[in-house]
Symmetry: C2
Subunit: 260 residues, 2 copies
Amino acid sequence: MTFVTQDAEAKGSLKSETTHLDDLTYEGVAPEELPLFRGLPVPRRTDLMRHAMVHSVSAGTVLFEQGDVPNFQLIVLAGSAQLFGRSAEGREVLIEAVRAPDLVIPAAVLTGAPYLMQARVPEPSRFLLIQAGAFRAAVEVEPLLAHAAIGSLAAQFRRMVRQIKNLKLRSSTERVGCYLLALSKRQGTPDRAVLPFEKTLIASELGITRESFSRALSSLGKSGIRVDGQTIEILDAARVAAACAPDPLIDGTDGEGFAI
Amino acid sequence: MTFVTQDAEAKGSLKSETTHLDDLTYEGVAPEELPLFRGLPVPRRTDLMRHAMVHSVSAGTVLFEQGDVPNFQLIVLAGSAQLFGRSAEGREVLIEAVRAPDLVIPAAVLTGAPYLMQARVPEPSRFLLIQAGAFRAAVEVEPLLAHAAIGSLAAQFRRMVRQIKNLKLRSSTERVGCYLLALSKRQGTPDRAVLPFEKTLIASELGITRESFSRALSSLGKSGIRVDGQTIEILDAARVAAACAPDPLIDGTDGEGFAI
DNA sequence: GGCATGCCTTGATTTGGATCAATGCCGGAT
DNA sequence: ATCCGGCATTGATCCAAATCAAGGCATGCC
């Protein structure tokens, strides 16, 4: 089997490329810069690296399918990965986006259980791949690695809990409004939010259809937002907040307590 | 502050009781029987135990509120805890039930971040409480503890992912049908499922109202189930499955790979 | 017994969001 | 420029599930 497959829809001009650790040109995060490896005893690090490689992949690449048994722990060095859930009938929804630097679903790799989600790459990205067995073994014996894994697992768990609360406790318009407020905060622009990907995708992340997302946006127009393509002007954050009841225990992001 | 508060609704005849480790009468799991501690170097274990106690609590007890900063890592020795999400307006939904033996939201304790959920005890239960700081420190340095924490975190993460897929990809009737099938399988009775708690609570776990849950049950009557109070007879599992499209990547439970 | 109280069911109605369908818009290819 | 395919909006309609409302059926208490 191939551990990374080119998506059928991907344009032919883009290609993925594997690099061994020796002949890297670093962009974004270099593996050695990761706190994960900085603190590692040198022999352990070189041992791990012998079971690792860096892989640059193009937009559209499928990293793995749901149901696959993990062969590698993927670490996002640059770019991001999107995790999708798919139903039997083929409907597909975005569950999470994993941004550099982070581990891609350590929960599956560390338990050796089949992936519950498919991973795709929405933009040219670079990953460190560590063979699953070697990674598990290293985490077993190396407290620093265990610490990093725990931090990543915990943060991802909490994101899932937030999402469940969002889905169960709020209406679709509230979800959209709170999403915009959280986004503008994360981007450091209180009066504006730029959507990170296509509206259809965001809609599926929020558990609604693209049409409902569109309507929610226009209905929030009455509460002080203005839509212009991918950027949303937030004219009256207070009114939006009043309409959507944002809640730090749902919309917040834990500070980067643990860094990978 | 008190780390455990008696629920206002709890009947006065029930009481909670704290026990020091010396004068325990063991029922269910004893702390020393946990694989978690069995393998621990003795000095480490005694050190941990000095920051720990066993607490027996009655039904209705609130273990902590959402927003609280964790003071203890709670470990369910006997019984269970239910985790609730609450909206600003006070609507409350069941997010997960944690059954012995397991850790209660290690994600919050290990990151020191505020709980995203409230924990309540639906039945008389026994918990081991380890002071959060001591627990974190022990996990840092003790690979066996780290391993157990990782196993618990990973399993809990995966349950949340399954739940999100369930909510986003299925209709309410499908969720109910698949819930029953999974339940009967878990209980080892292919032709019957006994609901583990009130229907209202299960409905909130499945993201629907109690009325919709009731209607879903009766509409599944046409697919071969029969409702009798808390027990559901499954007359024709195949027809139910056909109607609800169960999926191991949603309804499955990971085998107990990691034991606490 | 009689009467609350809590939980569940069932029916009537409303409504939020999905679905179906048409059109608009933009960027890329030719 | 023109055509095209993918994405987004908007409108019309439908439908699933929520809400509102009324009883039913236990259980426990006085």
